[in-house]
């Protein structure tokens, strides 16, 4: 009984905060746009009993999904989002792995401090941090001013409102999510494994490649998903740093919802996005489970 209650709590949580909202979104995505409040129809009218219910269901259709396929804006946005998310995940990995490696190899006394430094940015609001990047990257921003003062460039670099700014923003924002799982995998790594590899004839580099890298794989995979999944639906960073030139599905979704007030299409976009994300989420779960099994 106690066990059932304990298991029920997370499930209730999931049902209330994920499944129910999702079903609502799904319902809206199958509805049609209407100049009404709420701005879609049909509305479920339970006062008419069974007839109302059948009438409601008979009016639901997949028109919005068909519409997404006809306009190339949507699939281009999805593709662009996937590309930006994948590329920024790779960049984050390239930046984050050395950081995690350095942290894991640092003196024991230093590690808590280094961990603290990685987590520190979270103490400031995400929005404020993205806005400050605007201050840094804009044409009159800190970066251009310093570079011009140093004489490296004579006219400001156009970074703001380009995909580069989006990459910078995503890599910066999600770096801790990459560093922490890799660090935790590397920290568990027994130094004697590397010595054993060297003892058996490996050079430092082959020892890294044959031992350290495969053993930090679970951390790498976890970090990549933790960056890739939220980056795919990212909205704040592309809309603040990317300007109009960056196409990302999160931004499209926002515009459909708030600018066009087309809730059904916006919901359809959201449903497709979720379906796209389910694949990496399932893969991520698998990886976690494998890692747990390997430890056990």
């Amino acid at each position: 009984m106690r066990k059932a209650v304990l298991i029920a709590i997370p499930y209730l949580w999931l049902v209330a905060l994920f499944l129910v909202p999702f079903l609502i979104v799904l319902k809206i995505s199958l509805s049609d746009i209407a100049l009404a409040r709420p701005p879609y129809m049909p509305q479920l009218d339970l006062t008419q009993g069974w007839a109302g219910l059948t009438a409601f269901f008979s009016e639901l259709d997949l028109d919005n999904f068909a519409f997404l396929a006809t306009d190339d804006l949507y699939w281009k946005s999805y593709l662009s989002s996937l590309r930006i998310a994948a590329l920024s995940t790779l960049i984050t990995l390239a930046v984050g792995y050395p950081i995690a490696y350095g942290m894991a190899r640092a003196d024991h006394a230093w590690r808590p401090t280094l961990l603290m430094l990685v987590i520190l940015p979270f103490w400031t609001s995400f929005l404020i941090r993205v806005y400050s990047w605007m201050g840094i990257l804009s044409n009159e921003g800190t970066l251009n001013t310093v570079l011009q003062w140093l004489g490296v460039i004579n006219e400001p670099l156009q970074i703001m409102n380009t995909p580069t700014a989006v990459y910078i923003g995503i890599v910066y924002t999600y770096l801790p999510f990459m560093v922490l799982p890799i660090y935790s995998a590397l920290e568990k790594l027994d130094d004697s494994l590397l010595e054993a590899a060297e003892d058996l004839g490996c050079s430092r580099f082959t020892a890294f490649w044959l031992v350290t890298w495969p053993l930090s794989r679970s951390g790498i995979v976890a970090g990549c998903f933790l960056v890739f999944i939220p980056a795919l639906g990212e909205f704040v960073i592309p809309s603040l740093l990317g300007g109009s030139s960056t196409l990302m599905i999160g931004k499209v979704l926002w515009e459909e919802f708030f600018n066009n007030r087309d809730w059904p299409v916006a919901s359809a976009v959201a449903v497709i996005l979720l379906l796209i994300l389910i694949i990496p989420i399932v893969l991520f779960q698998r990886n976690e489970q494998k890692a747990r099994e390997a430890e056990g």
């Binding site: 027994d190 004697s192 494994l193 010595e195 054993a196 590899a197 060297e198 003892d199 058996l200 004839g201 490996c202 050079s203 082959t206 044959l210 031992v211 495969p214 053993l215 794989r217 390997a294 430890e295 056990g296």
Partner: protein, 471 residues
């Protein structure tokens, strides 16, 4: 069939496989290894033994190439190797934690070193299978390290380090993680494998039993120095210092001043005789009387009625003979004649009188006031007049209820008994408060043993059982 004794270190023609020449290692201000020289021969099973922090692991890591040396030379087969990186040395190491690669199967773990050598697949297959057979792990080749037991991991680690057929195999506390029973089995297995492969093994351990069991020679280390290098039996029976004696096994230590013993027993009276006579002359009779009295308590000396007699008396005779006295009747104290007879009986057993049987020469160790000095016939007379420590192993100390026929005998009281099953260690407190450990093999069942706590006992040991060590 008599086998030739394996002792290359006694042969001056033999070239050592490993040579440490005045090797030093410093970590900052701390000197881990201090100007150390050592030779290890081919096919040896050499043990580096010492407490943690004595530098034994540093020595091993220098051999493997994981530590650079601060001074001196390390030679392997006559070649200087101190500058050779670990992956280029014909030396392999079995790590204390085994350091098996968790992401690789047992087979791949063993093949790891061979693959790095760029051997062809057929050779690797054959060699890995051979190693698996040697360590009886063939059935587990496809498993991952976390799917096998600690003992099996130990064997895989051994197989992996032997796969490349190194000239020298280093074992860093290889059995530390195993339980006692498995450890003992594995020790014999290690010796067996060492013999089969003919590889030179250097083992680092803090477990002296392990070192004694497996090693052909042991180097006892302390604070970055080697205190003694010798065969296990020599280390145990002839330690060269108090440190070694105390570190290896259990030991009784008596510090005192040495005096030379006359070589010719007839020429000078034994000082012990005088001391002994002086110490025991008045007491002896009293002791003897005690013995006689104690004897009277036993049935054959005391004319006491048995239960039937009691009953008969109580029922029948009491009426006309009065109440029976209940206090045990005592015999009168022994007459002088009786004492003399008893003394005559016991006399040959007394060490003072058996002096001619004691080996002449050696030294006496005067270790406590009021106690006869220890006779050490094997002591070096050169130390006469100096402060020395007499060391004797508990199993060489006997324990008796009566004064034993031994050159060295001291009276004491049993304070503690450590019963270990096969043997018992008695902690005996001598008259001056010194605690002495004496060991007895429990050849009889517990119920038949007669010495127990608080008993007055005699400990004894022969004149050659101990070792005299200079302080």
């Amino acid at each position: 069939m008599a086998q030739t004794v394996f002792a290359p270190w006694t042969d001056p023609v033999q070239k050592p496989l490993i040579e440490f020449r005045n090797v030093s290692k410093r970590f900052g201000d701390f000197t881990a290894i201090d100007n150390l020289s050592l030779t290890i021969y081919e096919k040896e099973f050499f043990a580096l033994l010492g407490p943690s922090g004595c530098g034994k692991t540093t020595m091993m890591r220098m051999l493997a190439g994981f530590e650079t040396i601060s001074g001196g030379h390390i030679l392997l087969d006559g070649q200087e190797i101190s500058a050779v990186p670990p992956n280029k040395r014909p030396v392999n190491m079995m790590f204390q934690s085994y350091a098996l690669f968790p992401h690789l199967s047992i087979w791949d773990n063993i093949a790891f070193g061979l693959k790095r050598e760029g051997r062809d697949a057929a050779f690797i297959d054959e060699r890995v299978d051979e190693m698996l057979r040697l360590t009886r792990m063939s059935r587990f080749a496809r498993r991952k390290p976390h799917q096998i037991s600690g003992g099996q991991r130990q064997r895989v680690a051994l197989a992996r380090s032997l796969a490349k057929a190194p000239k020298l195999l280093l074992l860093d506390e290889p059995l530390g993680a195993l339980d006692r029973k498995l450890r003992e089995e594995t020790q014999f297995e290690l010796m067996d494998i060492q013999e089969k492969t003919g590889t030179t093994f250097v083992i680092v351990t803090h477990d002296q039993e392990e070192a004694m069991t497996v090693a052909s020679r042991i180097a006892v280390m302390d604070e970055g120095r080697i205190v003694q290098v010798d065969t296990p039996d020599q280390i145990y029976e002839a330690p060269n210092s108090v440190y070694v004696a105390d570190f290896i096994g259990d030991v009784n230590l008596f510090s005192g001043t040495a005096t030379a013993r006359p070589v010719d027993m007839a020429a000078a009276p034994e000082p012990t005789v005088a001391l002994d006579a002086e110490a025991t002359a008045p007491r002896h009779d009293a002791a003897l009387r005690d013995t006689v009295e104690a004897n009277t308590a036993t049935a054959q000396r005391l004319p006491a009625p048995d239960r039937k007699g009691d009953w008969l008396y109580d029922k029948l005779f009491r009426r006309f003979m009065g109440s029976r006295e209940t206090a045990p009747r005592r015999l009168p104290p022994p007459s002088p004649a009786e004492v003399a007879a008893a003394r005559a009986r016991e006399a040959p057993a007394r060490p003072a009188d058996s002096a001619p049987a004691i080996k002449p020469g050696g030294i006496l160790v005067d270790w406590a006031d009021g106690q006869p000095p220890i006779i050490a016939a094997n002591g070096d007379t050169a130390v006469a007049g100096e402060k020395v420590t007499f060391s004797i192993r508990p199993e060489k100390v006997t324990i008796d209820a009566e004064q034993p026929d031994r050159p060295n005998a001291y009276k004491g009281k049993v304070i503690d008994i450590a019963y270990l099953g096969n043997i018992s260690t008695f902690h005996v407190e001598l008259a001056n408060g010194t605690m002495v450990k004496a060991q007895m093999v429990n050849a009889r069942r517990l119920a038949n043993r007669h010495i127990t706590w608080e008993d007055e006992v005699w400990i004894g040991f022969s004149e050659t059982a101990g070792v005299v060590l200079k302080d």
